[in-house]
Symmetry: C2
């Protein structure tokens, strides 16, 4: 049994303002909660429906809640069997010197939380460990973004940066850095330079990469399409690029 | 101004049962509605908010509705500025003889409508024109699936089939057909056989391809991952495979 105030507090974390105020965010789903508890991140609360097992090395015992309470707390379209409240970690400062074997992903104003989460999950799959987000990118602690990462949020480091400044610093520290911008009507990605270190820039769903950011790239590439569809979904394009970049 | 009954009717199309009963489905968004009107499919109704322009060669004039009515009719999380009601076309019978230059996509029990729609959009991008759906695949006329296709629904032909029977017929008619199953821990897709005609099978989000369907494949392949993430999103995996298959 939890109080109305507690439910209200969890609901406040659906919105960016509430998350900022409380310094907390929501993880939903049994797998996500289990990964959260194993991640080393600070877990402040775990809720689970009656009878739901949450496997964890921690001695933390979930608070049992009713279906109805979970329904009120969830940020998703259908309530999850388990939910955790985590502390938002302190932002690490970004070090513009990159290791010689490193690949960076740079996201310019991705606005859909599901796309952002899917991109982080896919980056994790392809071994890309650092993702730089433009200042207007959607919040990575948005519940739908967290859900779409399927636990990869705990493994991929994200940095929120002014992209023009950040790319400038990266190039200054790493004069041989390949900076690849993905645009329409450029050379195909099949022969994408896989040299490391490298940085791959993905643009927003509606507008692509901003012109002032494209101008900082050392290379421009496109995913060749044959026909009908005007465009690919932003996370799909990002995933295909990451595949071509890392294989 | 539209009647309560009409709103109720549109809402009935959110569910598969209602769509089957009425033989209709919903397309939302200005771009989707414009593509619907240009598609040659039978458009039975178009609704638009006041002041919203729907470009179309047709002389059909949209019915103006209030924000509140649209809110009640939408199947999406936020109401669209325009909506069309279309007749579900008659199912074409599937011809198991394939043209020599053809690629087929086969989907085994994809359950998320957003994934299905995104897969159709991506197939369209890569010039794949025929998609075979297993009997338990989510409905392609589900409003979220339609939305995610971004108009590709009107360009990609879908056929609902018993996959075991269908693949058997395909192989009988086309003895040299490559049937590729995507599984965990097989050879990487980098050197995927791009020979045509070919068929690529994608499995469900939770269970992959059913074993009895895998056994009908002539080739098995995996997307090599480096690390952390346990899996890729189903539509992401499908998109990367289609890229590797068609490039």
């Amino acid at each position: 049994m939890i109080s109305k105030n507690e439910i209200k507090h969890v609901r406040s974390l659906h919105r960016k303002k509430g998350r900022k105020l409380a310094g907390q965010f929501i993880v939903e789903g049994v797998k996500g909660v289990e990964e959260a508890m194993a991640s080393g991140w600070q877990v402040e609360r775990v809720y689970a429906l009656e009878g739901v097992e949450v496997q964890s090395a921690a001695t933390y015992r979930p608070i049992e809640v009713s279906q109805k309470d979970m329904q009120q707390m969830t940020a998703l379209s259908s309530p999850s069997p388990a939910m955790a409240i985590l502390r938002i970690p302190e932002e690490k400062s970004f070090d513009p010197s990159v290791h010689m074997d490193e690949r960076l992903l740079i996201l310019d104003d991705i606005s859909d939380p599901g796309n952002l989460g899917t991109i982080l999950r896919t980056a994790d799959w392809f071994g890309i460990r650092k993702v730089i987000l433009s200042e207007n990118c959607v919040d990575v602690f948005n519940p739908k973004a967290v859900q779409s990462t399927m636990g990869s949020l705990f493994r991929v480091e994200t940095y929120r940066q002014d992209l023009a400044v950040c790319i400038g610093q990266l190039k200054e520290h790493n004069p041989s850095l390949h900076v690849i911008a993905t645009v329409m009507d450029a050379d195909p990605i099949a022969d994408l330079d896989q040299a490391v270190p490298g940085a791959l820039i993905i643009g927003s769903e509606a507008h692509g990469i901003r012109p002032e950011i494209i101008s900082l790239a050392t290379e421009k590439r496109s995913i060749p399409g044959i026909s009908g569809a005007e465009s690919l979904n932003a996370s799909m394009a990002a995933g295909i690029l990451m595949y071509a970049w890392t294989r």
